[in-house]
Symmetry: C2
Subunit: 418 residues, 2 copies
């Protein structure tokens, strides 16, 4: 099947899905969850093929771990699908409704987007996750996972499509691009006649490719240097706890901090205590000159910051440290160094807190809290499709509602415009 | 100034605007309105230059009329700006706010988009309109009007910038690309480092260019074939009134109907009466075979529909006519013929009304009403930036709120993630 046919089939399926009841969509989700458990042996066999090829290609342990399924993980994935069943269906809700002076009842009604294209990393659970969230919101999906998951995803998508058919929904509600080669991604990005939204999950290279090539609206996300600014009125003892949490609780993810900005008046008090804690947690500090001097006698490993260090998303146990003169200097640093995701201020000043909230160019801004809370589950959204760091349509963690659009509905009694 | 500098200046200005009070932004708008009236002579002189060049280039009367300013029109434009002053400022509103189980107060706060790029037709009032709406919503704007308005827009933007400076706002809140040449448009479309949204107002060629070249999110709008479906249960006498209104009240605009779909069981009753009314209004009918036979003896001009007729946005006194067997056949026609803007059903059937509302791929769907209501003012939005026919971010008439984004704000007491 070529991409045009795939797009057309997805669009046709989306028309059926838009009219499907929550009951029907939930039945398909329950069937999907059951199929994962009943066909565990086949899925794990397919996964073993992918793992063998990956090992043969010398792929690292972290990636192998993300690729690997076992029966406990399959059960967890099936449970996640059942959680999606329990989430409220956002489709059909009236976002607003009023009667105009001319008597027309005008409302905005939440509707599916239509067709969603998702390009994602080599993690088989994402295939199920995205298919389930798109199905729940009445969207057809075209999936393209990392090539390392080829056999696993073929098996998973086959089961998903069987579950759809068993519930009288078109199999084309979920389609998968298995062919290797970037030209298939480029082709998907041009299907604007059929596809309503592209979600790229992956590295900056993929995002850049999508920005440059897509004629379909793209949700860019998951990037941004994370900052924490310790203001002069912060509680410095508790500040160390929050910095520690924001840096070390799960250093490999995008809502950790990369740079600590410290008000110059409290640096001499904070930095020695910080060095002790960071040494305990094996964090390497990368400090600009005035901060460097205050850290050099502490136990933590420290080196002088070089060009580009404050523009680096570390995703590891490394933390940049810089002194600033006030909240405006902190904001200037954020703006110059690609803050877009999650940033925090620790302060007791209402004025500075408000200034930071309004001035930070971030999807999520925290006052006296760790940046680690930027997450669909933490925010109570029930599910997370991606974390958007752009400003259109959705910003921050995207849940089910962010997979929908709306339409205007005007109802009247043969009303004409004067 | 090159585009990079322009983008950087706009971004810097957007930081100031994001923190500006409603009072300050309104003061600048009031100063703008006053400047338009006080400098009427200079504006009209610049406009006369543009008109002379346009006449010399043999530009048609309709375009000349859109280009032309006079003192009455200037007063109307200034009044429009004062209307924007009276609109509520959407920035800062909390869209939702709740306390998570861990004690964090989490809210979503409405914020400006940042920098908005607008590419628009040769109408000087749009320059003022867009600048005012962007300013009210705290967005810096980069404007690019049709080249026929060069001298007028230079004068208008100069006055806008003087008004900004007089109210202690950066002049770069509003910038104008005066240089001719499509390469300036292409360059603007690549400024994703600085610009958050592109709104193209213009023909399909411009929209296609933006879709293909822009690395910035684009709001596509203003297109779509408009349909009205007369179901078998419709009141046929009143149906003629609504069809007439949707076609003839202002035939040159995008929310008129292009195609009339008639349930085959009521065609013999409706079409003769329709022919009489359409003849009175000088509407030419373009009919597919079964409808053609029913119209051929009527007074209205009628011709057989050819390939592409049902894909044509007429923007004139022409109306396609086709019979369909039921509401599903009507929806199938809509989907196959680029319905995206405004479509209507005339019916007394609750089931069919609901089916049409959910199934129509339109930004606005009407039951027993003219399609002519799709308009920011009619919808009570107070202002209209554009009519979006895409599904991301905004759909249908875009008012002030659609020029904003949101950010998540989490406030707590030195909270860490467990």
């Amino acid at each position: 099947m070529d991409l045009q046919q795939m797009g057309d089939a997805a669009q046709q399926a989306s028309y059926v899905l838009a009219q499907a009841s929550t009951q029907t969509k939930n039945a398909a989700l329950i069937a999907m969850a059951g199929a994962l458990e009943q066909n565990a042996a086949a899925i794990l066999a397919a996964n073993e093929k992918d793992l063998a090829i990956a090992r043969g290609n010398g792929i690292g342990d972290a990636m192998l771990d993300r690729l690997m399924l076992n029966s406990a993980r399959l059960t967890a994935i099936a449970d996640d699908v059942r959680n999606v069943v329990r989430l409220p269906d956002p489709v059909g809700a009236e976002l607003e409704s009023r009667v105009l002076e001319n008597g027309m009842r005008l409302s905005r009604r939440r509707v599916p987007l239509g067709v969603v294209g998702v390009i994602y990393e080599a993690r088989p659970n994402v295939t199920i996750d995205i298919a389930a969230l798109c199905l729940k919101t009445g969207n057809a999906s075209i999936l393209r996972g990392g090539r390392e998951t080829f056999h696993t995803n073929q098996e998973l998508v086959k089961l998903i499509r069987q579950a759809l058919a068993a519930c009288d929904l078109p199999e084309s509600c979920v389609q998968y691009i298995g062919e290797p080669g970037r030209e298939w991604v480029s082709g998907l990005l041009k299907l604007d006649q059929y596809v309503d939204m592209i979600i790229p999950r992956g590295g900056p290279g993929l995002h850049q490719l999508c920005k440059e090539q897509s004629t379909i609206p793209v949700i860019i996300g998951g990037f941004g240097i994370g900052h924490m600014f310790v203001d002069e009125s912060a509680d410095l003892v508790r500040a160390v706890e929050v910095i520690d949490n924001a840096k070390t609780q799960r250093p490999s993810v995008c809502n950790t901090i990369d740079t600590l900005l410290v008000h110059e008046r409290v640096a001499a008090d904070l930095l020695p205590a910080l060095s002790v804690r960071m040494a305990e947690k094996n964090v390497t500090l990368v400090a600009a000159p005035p901060a460097l001097a205050l850290l050099q006698n502490g136990p933590a490993t420290v080196r002088a910051a070089e060009d580009g260090d404050f523009d680096t998303e570390w995703l590891s146990l490394t933390l940049g440290v810089k002194l600033v003169s006030d909240v405006d200097a902190a904001l200037a640093h954020l703006r110059a160094h690609n803050a877009a995701h999650s940033d925090a201020i620790l302060t007791n000043s209402l004025v500075n807190a408000e200034r930071f909230i309004n001035g930070a160019p971030s999807a999520a801004v925290y006052v006296n809290a760790s940046t680690r809370f930027t997450d669909g589950a933490q925010f109570g959204l029930g599910a997370e499709v991606a974390v958007s760091t752009q400003k259109l349509h959705a910003r921050g963690p995207m849940g089910l509602e962010e997979l929908t659009s709306y339409k205007w509905v005007g109802q009247a009694d043969y009303l004409i415009r004067e």
